[in-house]
Amino acid sequence: MKTREYHAARWSEPIIHELTSPGERGFIPPRAEKRIRDRVGEAPSLVPEPLRRRTEPGLPELSQAQVLRHYLRLSQMTLGMELGIDVGVGTCTMKYSPKVNEGLAQMIAEVHPDQPEETIQGLLEVVYEFGDMFLREISGMDAFSFQPPGGSAGAYNNALIMRKYHQVQGEPWRDEVITTIFSHPCDAACPATAGYKVITLYPDPETGLPDAEALKEAVGPRTAGCFITNPEDTGIFNKHIDEWTQIIHDAGGLCSYDQANANAIMGVTRAREAGFDMCFFNLHKTFSSPHGSSGPGSAAIGVTAELEPYLPVPVIVKRGSRYHLDYDRPLSIGRVRDFMGNLQAVVRSYAWCMALGAEGLREAAEVSMINNQYLAEKLRQVRGVTLPFRGRRLDQARWSLERLKEETGVGVQDVNNRLIDYGVQSMFTSHHPWLVPEPFTPEPCETYSRADIDYWVEALKTVIDEAYADPQLVKTAPHRSSNHNVVDGGFDDPDRWAMSWRAYKRKRGGVR
């Protein structure tokens, strides 16, 4: 297999402010009709004097085609999943988002969340049924909410349920949560934001997992619960997970399962049998809603019947054949997000599950898992690549380029900068800290064909061969991407960082 002669779009596109041409208009908003103007008078007179805007905002002035062209060029300089083979972007489950679902999601574009219930029965039905028919079966949990608008928001939501639960139980002193270092950082950061002290367990260097003894030492009378990913970011499934949840339960805590990425275990193993009290699925990962350049996403949170009263309001309930928004839930944590969350994601995920059914979902899981075994077979044969910890991985694996770095001086960041020259998105390395040196985390989910995986490995292999033959070539990459490298960008320097064009102009004169 030969790598492609790829070159990314390079438009050298200015910042939109630099394209301004005074007087041009990109859009004319509707104006108030004459009858209205005659009755109410000039608009500024309607604003209390101290709050009137006195100077125009410094927005650019462009005609419509020029605005469109600018943003189309920016889009062309973005290697979205639909254009590439995102096998390298692990933990993110870069699967295909079926185009038909975009049109279906668009059907709710002009729905207001506070419309009378009788006008949105169809939408409420889709959302309710997705939780009731699909996610309950997939997880074994009893009730779902879709209010958290992203994975981390799901973890935060579960931390709030945990907090409220212990308060209601009369055990407010429980202020410690336990997580593992290979669980997503939100499993530490979100409980911490909710006021918890976070205890992090580190893995055994052989197995890649902390052992149960470490967990037993960590629990105590202040244990509120745990936040754990399984399989972890390493792709390793904790075989003792049900013993772990038992240890937490014995200590009086609750167990929250981070199932942001559950792609290889749909129809295979469930949160309930593993003993969890709560879980969340990222609809923008496992359930195919597009990632949107980082949102809007959605976390479907599932809880056991015991925790159902704590779900955020409103909860969609079914009475007879009608769906209602139930706000009257005295134990609810209240809200984590305005309205009902990102329901366009729920519509897409419902359609995706309907297209697959029980067999198809299980097939998606099996194929993503088999793809990963296949990828592993191929990667093992690539020079400079190693796989820390023993045993098979489910959907993804955390590999290392430590040997390559030792032998050539070329590290994973350099490899990433070169990989994109072959039309392949840069790899996800690892969350921090980097326990695995020079890490990368591929996840060849069910979207990718055997040929896709072969191409991806070929591209990586080509870059690694280059690193051994001519390290400078890789270290000075990219050579065929949309721009060149920034050297010392001042991103940590208050005198140089610039989070807006006006700050850039002030600090650097804004001259190209």
Binding site: P48, L51, V111, A159, W497
Partner: protein, 466 residues
Amino acid sequence: MVKMSQPHPYIPNSVPEVKREMLRLVGAESADELYREMIPERLLMRTQMKLPEALPDELGLRRHVESKLSRDVTAAEYTSFLGGGCWQHYVPEVCETIACRSEFLTAYAGGSHSDLGRYQANFEFQSLICELLGMEVSGIPTYDWGAAAGNSVRMASRLTGRRKILVPGNVSPSRLSIIGNFCGSAHQGGGLEIRPLKMDPGTGTVDLGDLESKLGEDVACVYFENPNYLGVIEAGGAEISALAHNVGAESVCGVDPISLGVLAPPSDYGVDIACGEAQPLGVHMYAGGGSCGFIASRDEERYVAEYPLRLVSVAPTVAPGEYGFGQALYERTSYMARENAKDWVGTTTALWGIVAAVYMSLLGPKGMREVGETILQKSHYATALLGELGGVEVPFKGFFKEFPVRFTGRKVKEVNRKLLKQGIMGGKNLTREFPELGQSALYCVTEVHTVEQIEALASALREVTG
């Protein structure tokens, strides 16, 4: 192991021969065998999931979902006067085009070379919203106004080392619930204390006397909104900020950015941290899924250090005249610092930020002024007409886009039920949220409403309340 009756279009390796061959190459007989190696028998599902029958053909799937959603009525099909945190505005077609671009729709975690355009679009959102707000720093937007406000008051608390937050009674109760969750703590004696401020019942604005009496050296910030949830313009913004500054507290203000072509930017009235909701800027309502919260401030190191958001910074590349992008003080974020981070950050609403950037670029300074003027005039025309009706009162003056309407002889529920029969979605019922306003509903009038629709509302209400 599943044996699919036919390969699925979303799963290339579901072709049975390919799946078998790949299993052979990894030295396994079946998927089950591999699973058993990784997952203990006791945790494996023994039976197939019980789910509805699959609809693998696209037309059948489309019909199935459409048959449910097409039963619904959208706000655009009826005439809707609903607002309250999610508003019906016109979405320019160019916004639609960019929102649907494969590249932006399906990008996620690529680097700043291969996703250069995404980084630049994120940066431009920050730049453009800063122009509206009169600020110099913003980040990739967060979930919604409530989350932005929650993060903002936590920033203020860390900046001042204080734990008391003053919040007036005219903020949205659901937003207040979100803020309250951000302020609570599992640590006993920890957390931030929200102290409510009175609303002046005559004006709907913050009661400045009450504010003054509650301010002290232990207050981290005053959080207020402009326009507030009830649509009222907080004309005393400068006084609120000055009073806060007098005791060393931060002034935090939530704003609706579509007002900022006609309303003063929060920087003009002393606001230190601005936040709000970008959904009005070219994003559809999506039943609440269009929400997009932003945070902005001056460019001072102590503020920047407290942001939870990803902050995209521009910098020159080695090629003359070319830009590159990176993330400022990335070590603060939860991706780096886990439990020691500034709150947390995750997958939020980047796509809506990009769409909002397109919107602000299209409208420019004149378009933003004009859309604001149109909204002011149309909403005031509505109150002028409704004010003439018997049994209807419009209690507050000096508003933008939204206003409570009080019914003296009818219940809101009944009024709305009758309006709905005429194809009108009346304002949001406020009787639970603001019982002190009596039988009131929050009406929202934007640039999408025609003079005829506003007049039709007035005559429908005349009929209903007469």
